[in-house]
């Protein structure tokens, strides 16, 4: 094959633009590797480098500024067999920096060509992430204040396995591109060139000076060795192949009878580490095991190991409409952190409501019936208080029965956990904690 270039859409770059030379070199590299258009996707960024895809007879994806690597990653994960080439300017490099770093870290098999001409050509020659501090550009004095980025050093540090820099005018460009494209992993080529439309109007830059500037830069490390590892997509598929499909959602058969019809609202107030959320879940499962509808909402701070933990549960023999707590039937109060969060609710409890509280917990005055449980003297650990409180509730035959609680524990816990939970409930019963 002679060329993958689109003869009906010849390049339209400014006369003397280095992009056009890179375009031809890329074409030669692709055809030299024996690739046909159907095997290649050109993903282009915004700016003059964003025109690349239109000049090729390959698959093409042209998207937003700086985001080309994100589309390329999606495409490569979907179609690992494709050669995915990303073209991006120094502008895209700057705005899409996070994606460049992450792609280096990921080592997905893409080739990124940074068409580096030290300024934003399309918008008027403003400074980019690679503009030298002594350059005269369209951003006034601003570029004098910012250090240009050496993307190759950055990419290597970020884990790219293939990093190279080369002049557009280097005779080895085609071979360099082939090498990068053939690399099994992420490869980045920083291609320096001239923007005659903007940059070289006010700055001296020639193939020779580029060569000299490149020669002055410190050597790049041996990233191929240092960053050598499996290609991301392949490693992903290998890992995924070892995983077992997730179990289907459990359907809970109604094997128990609820103690009474109606809607029951239960609020469990505790602190981090007391397994408040688990208790709420147990209550929902208990409800479902008696054919009841259930809803659970939880409230806890982002620092999950400290602070309050509140769980609000509704069980109902009819569909649950409003999921908020309006008139709690039962409040389980196990720690001041949780109680402090619901003071208003506690004060507003109805006389029909019951509160099961750990000894020592202070409640605002309320007309509800209060049962005190002395967990500490029963030597029950704080993480078991909520479970034991549910057993107390089941012992009262309110909201749930002991059968429902056991059915819930069976659903929620593995065998050893279940046995420990049953033992805990029995221990509490033996201590007569469950009696009124």
């Amino acid at each position: 094959m002679d060329s993958l270039l689109n003869t009906s859409r010849p390049p339209v770059f400014c006369p003397g633009c280095s992009h056009e030379q890179v375009l031809h070199s890329l074409d030669q590299a692709l055809t030299g590797m024996g690739l046909c258009g159907e095997e290649v996707v050109i993903v282009s960024d915004i700016g003059c480098s964003g025109l690349f895809d239109t000049f090729f007879n390959t698959h093409a994806f042209h998207g937003l500024h700086g985001r080309a690597l994100t589309y390329a990653t999606g495409i490569k994960m979907a179609r690992p067999d494709l050669k995915v080439i990303v073209t991006m300017g120094d502008g895209g490099l700057g705005i899409g920096g996070a994606h460049v770093l992450s792609t280096c870290r990921r080592n997905i098999d893409l080739t990124l060509l940074v068409l580096n001409n030290f300024n934003y050509g399309m918008t008027g020659g403003q400074c980019s992430a690679t503009t030298p501090q002594d350059a005269v550009v369209g951003s006034g004095f601003l570029n004098r204040l910012e250090k240009p980025l050496d993307i190759c050093q950055v990419a290597g540090a970020a884990g790219a396995g293939y990093v190279s820099r080369i002049s557009t005018y280097d005779k080895g460009l085609v071979e360099g591109l082939k090498d990068a494209i053939a690399f099994d992993g992420f490869s980045l080529v920083d291609v320096w060139g001239i923007c005659p439309g903007r940059y070289t109007r006010r700055n001296k830059l020639s193939p020779k000076s580029i060569e000299a500037d490149l020669a002055k830069l410190p050597e790049l490390g041996d990233y191929k060795t240092r960053n050598a590892r499996a290609e991301y997509g392949r490693a992903y598929r290998q890992e995924a192949a070892t995983l077992q499909p997730a179990a289907e959602p459990v359907r809970i058969e109604a094997t128990c009878t609820p103690p009474a019809p109606g809607r029951w609202e239960v609020v469990v107030l505790g602190s981090a580490g007391q397994r408040i959320i688990t208790a709420g879940e147990l209550l929902c499962l208990a409800g479902a095991s008696a054919g009841c509808h259930a809803a659970q909402k939880s409230d806890y701070p982002i620092t999950v190991m400290r602070g309050h933990s509140v769980s609000e549960i509704i069980l109902s023999d009819t569909g649950i409409e409003y999921t908020g707590i309006e008139n709690p039937s039962v409040v389980i109060a196990l720690a001041p952190e949780g109680v402090n969060r619901r003071k208003k609710m506690l004060a507003g409890l109805s006389p029909e409501a019951w509160v099961i509280k750990a000894s020592g917990i202070e409640l605002p005055s309320c007309p509800a019936s209060v049962i005190q449980v002395d967990f500490k003297s029963g030597k029950i650990k704080p993480q078991d208080w909520a479970l034991v409180a549910l057993a107390v509730l089941a012992g009262m035959n309110r909201v749930l029965t002991m059968d429902m609680l056991k059915a819930a524990m069976k659903l929620r816990f593995r065998k050893t956990e279940y046995e420990a939970a049953i033992a805990m409930v029995e221990k509490a019963a033996a201590l007569q904690l469950l009696q009124l």
Partner: protein, 373 residues
């Protein structure tokens, strides 16, 4: 039948799987994170892909690349992430990329309250793109809707080649509820229509009687072009005003003209009522409780629950509101969707109940508005 206990976000994940989703990418954010967790559990073992992007922009970017390669993609976030998605959403609209975007709304503005619910993004989802073209927004009321509407969302994304939003709310997404999975009324799975081999492929070409271009994936035997630039049928940049106008009109019309085909709603008609409550999302549940409680009293109200919010189902709203003297709109913001009702129902008395304090609107609050009309 057996009941299953499941969080709304988990149901979104299972709904996505049932719809054929095979690609997910997201960035962790409360209250949407558990969708990502679910997809990470469900997709890779089934040969699908679940990625965590370096940010929201990357996450949706991965999805757009994968979607154009033929995969069924979904992403999920909350208000701060939707803000970052904005530019990519505009891309998906203009370049007709099928994608499902879940917005588990939390109380804003800005980072707001990560663990408090709201419906504060309802206008933002429609208008948070450059160009002002329509999108589809579906809003789940409960865990069942999370499953079923997610399937519809995928189907619509495939059928119309556009982003489809699921406007969830922390109060639906992070609430664990019982669901009867066997009793769900699930739609047939729809696949995007692919281009036949009988004529040359035009990435954005439509046949005379159609409004949506046929699809071919990137990487197939015929070359595919995708571009975020203003393009003609061939996928190349165009400056031709006639072509541009035709493309914009088609993008506008393909959803607006067909909204009756995907207007999801429920209603509770109460004989003798002179007020119609209109609500969506979690607020619809409080409204249902309110309307039911008042069925026997003197002031009665019927209820219309909207599940398709955008494009606005104008015909449905006009028709359902017609018999009533008054409309009450309740939503968890300071007055967003009510603007659409005001626009559609001139001359009708419209009372608004809004709340932005991190709490759900209570049935009692709605009852009060119904009573004092």
């Amino acid at each position: 039948m057996g009941l299953t206990l499941m969080e709304g976000n988990e149901a979104i994940g299972w709904g996505a799987m049932a719809a054929g989703c095979n690609f997910f990418a997201g960035y962790p954010i409360t209250p949407a994170t558990t969708i990502y967790n679910t997809m990470l559990r469900l997709l890779p073992p089934k040969g699908g892909v679940c990625l965590q992007g370096e940010d929201e922009i990357a996450s949706i970017g991965f999805c757009l690349g994968a979607a154009m390669s033929g995969m069924k993609a979904m992403t999920a976030t909350s208000g701060p992430g939707i803000s970052l998605y904005s530019e990519q959403i505009s891309f998906a609209i203009g370049s007709e990329i099928p994608i499902v975007i879940v917005d588990v709304q939390r109380l804003g503005p800005s980072t707001g309250s990560a663990t408090k619910g709201a419906d504060g993004d309802i206008q933002f989802l429609q208008w948070g793109n450059s160009g002002g073209l329509p999108v589809i927004v579906l809003s789940p009321v409960d865990v069942r809707d999370c499953h079923v509407l997610t399937m519809h969302a995928f189907n619509l994304a495939e059928q119309y080649r556009c982003p489809v939003f699921l406007a969830a709310n922390k109060e639906v997404s992070m609430t664990r509820e019982t669901i009867d999975l066997e009793g769900l009324d699930l739609p047939q799975v729809v696949e995007r229509r692919t281009a036949g081999a009988d004529h040359p492929f035009m990435p954005f070409g439509v046949k005379n009687d159609e409004q949506v271009p046929d699809f071919l994936p990137i990487g197939g035997q015929r070359l595919v072009r995708q571009t975020s630039s203003t393009h003609g049928a061939d996928g190349y940049i165009t400056t031709d005003p006639g072509q541009i106008a035709a493309m914009q009109a088609r993008l506008d019309g393909k959803l607006k003209k067909n909204v009756s085909a995907f207007t999801f709603y429920e209603e509770c008609r109460v004989p003798g009522a002179d007020t119609l409550v209109i609500a969506y999302g979690v607020t619809a549940r409080a409204a249902l409780a309110a309307v039911k409680k008042m069925q026997q009293g003197n002031s009665k109200a019927s209820l219309l629950i909207l599940k398709t919010l955008w494009p606005v189902p104008e015909e449905l709203i006009r028709e359902k509101a017609a018999p009533y003297r008054r409309v009450v709109m309740a939503e968890m913001n300071l007055g967003q969707y009510v603007r659409e009702l005001q626009r559609l129902l001139p001359g009708k008395k419209i009372d608004f109940l809004g709340q932005m304090n991190g709490e759900m609107i209570k049935p009692g609050q709605i009852q009060e508005v119904i009573q004092h009309g």
